[in-house]
Amino acid sequence: MRKLIQKIGLGEYLLVVMFGLVLLISRFTGWSLGLGAGKNFWSFFSEMIAFLPLMFILIGLVDVWVPNNKIEKHIGPGSGIMGTFWIVLLAMLQAGPLYGAFPVAYLLSKKGCSIKNVFIYLGAFSTLKIPMLAFEIGFLGFKFSLLRTLFTLPVFIGIGYIMEWYFKDREFTIDLPAYGKL
């Protein structure tokens, strides 16, 4: 029995099951913590479930179709400023929360992206996504958004350089947390 529980990984879902029970109980007793947290959870969950499966399908397809190291020429070590340009552009065209960028970073790294560009990708993804910029301009104004963008760009490019400088001669791998054997 314990083996079975381990096998389907219930241990990892313990909190989920407990939270589910709390939500259920709150529904009948009107406990405000359960109802309030439940409302928050559904808004996060709907964002995740609308977006993550599509993202993973695309990652899976790119993974089987694009040979490893095929795009190294464009975004790998030695790709220069154009490599950075492409990676920023790729990140800007995307949408979704930061945790969605981690599996893409894994994929990029596997296909030959340099360490520097992996972190520039994460930086651009978190701060320069076009759908988000439109939102920012709408609420905070053009001047503020433009300045924030202009100042953030060199900051995350700098982070890319620092990470590459530090991890160049050290072990650097991006793991893929997976359910089964790949």
């Binding site: 990892e12 879902y13 909190l15 989920v16 913590l33 309030g36 947290a37 439940g38 928050n40 959870f41 808004s43 996060f44 995740m48 609308a50 977006f51 993550l52 499966p53 599509l54 993973f56 399908i57 695309l58 990652i59 899976g60 397809l61 993974d63 089987v64 179709w65 949408a95 945790y99 981690f102 599996p103 970073a105 994460l122 930086g123 978190s126 701060t127 988000m132 939102f135 920012e136 609420f139 905070l140 001047k143 503020f144 300045l147 924030r148 100042f151 953030t152 900051v155 995350f156 700098g158 982070i159 620092i162 990470m163 530090y166 991006i174 793991d175 893929l176 947390p177 359910y179 089964g180």
Partner: protein
């Protein structure tokens, strides 16, 4: 969002048409990746939901507005680093901050840490990158966000 759906469907159909076996292999990988990260993501989202309920938006605005000077930056950086707020909530919130008299620089620190630093999602990041890389990226991003705030203060 709709663009993503269209791209995915088209890519999937094209892939199936070109090579069925390869496509299935890719999809199996997709499913594996999804199931691999799902429990941890759900746990993070549950914790964030509870924290966000206990500390509502109004309280955040109060905290951010109550402190001026260096303390204001520190509070903005701490809240921004911890909170996990989607963009469609974060920007209206930031606009509210500006309206209630919080400066542009502090707002920039709040927004930038919110985007780049994720303490609550750190367990997820560690699963992909390992502890050292994840901590370094977040620490550097925090420093970078403060720098952005400083520059905004000078130029805005």
């Amino acid at each position: 969002m709709y663009i993503l759906i269209v791209i995915t469907v088209v890519a999937l159909l094209a892939s199936f048409w070109a090579d069925r076996g390869k496509t299935l292999k890719g999809l199996k990988k997709s499913l594996n990746m999804l199931l691999g990260i799902l429990p941890m993501l759900l746990n993070v989202l549950i914790l964030v939901s509870i924290v966000l309920y206990l500390v509502p938006k109004e309280t955040l605005v109060q905290w951010l507005g109550a402190n001026s000077g260096l303390a204001g930056y520190a509070v903005a950086a701490i809240i921004g680093s911890i909170a996990l707020i989607p963009g469609f909530v974060a920007f209206p919130l930031a606009a509210l901050l500006l309206k209630s008299g919080v400066g542009y620089a502090v707002t920039a620190v709040f927004i930038t840490t919110l985007m780049m630093v994720g303490i609550l999602t750190l367990p997820v990041e560690i699963k992909y990158f390992g502890r050292k890389v994840a901590l370094m990226r977040n620490a550097l991003s925090l420093a970078g966000a403060l720098l952005v705030g400083l520059l905004i203060r000078v130029f805005m």
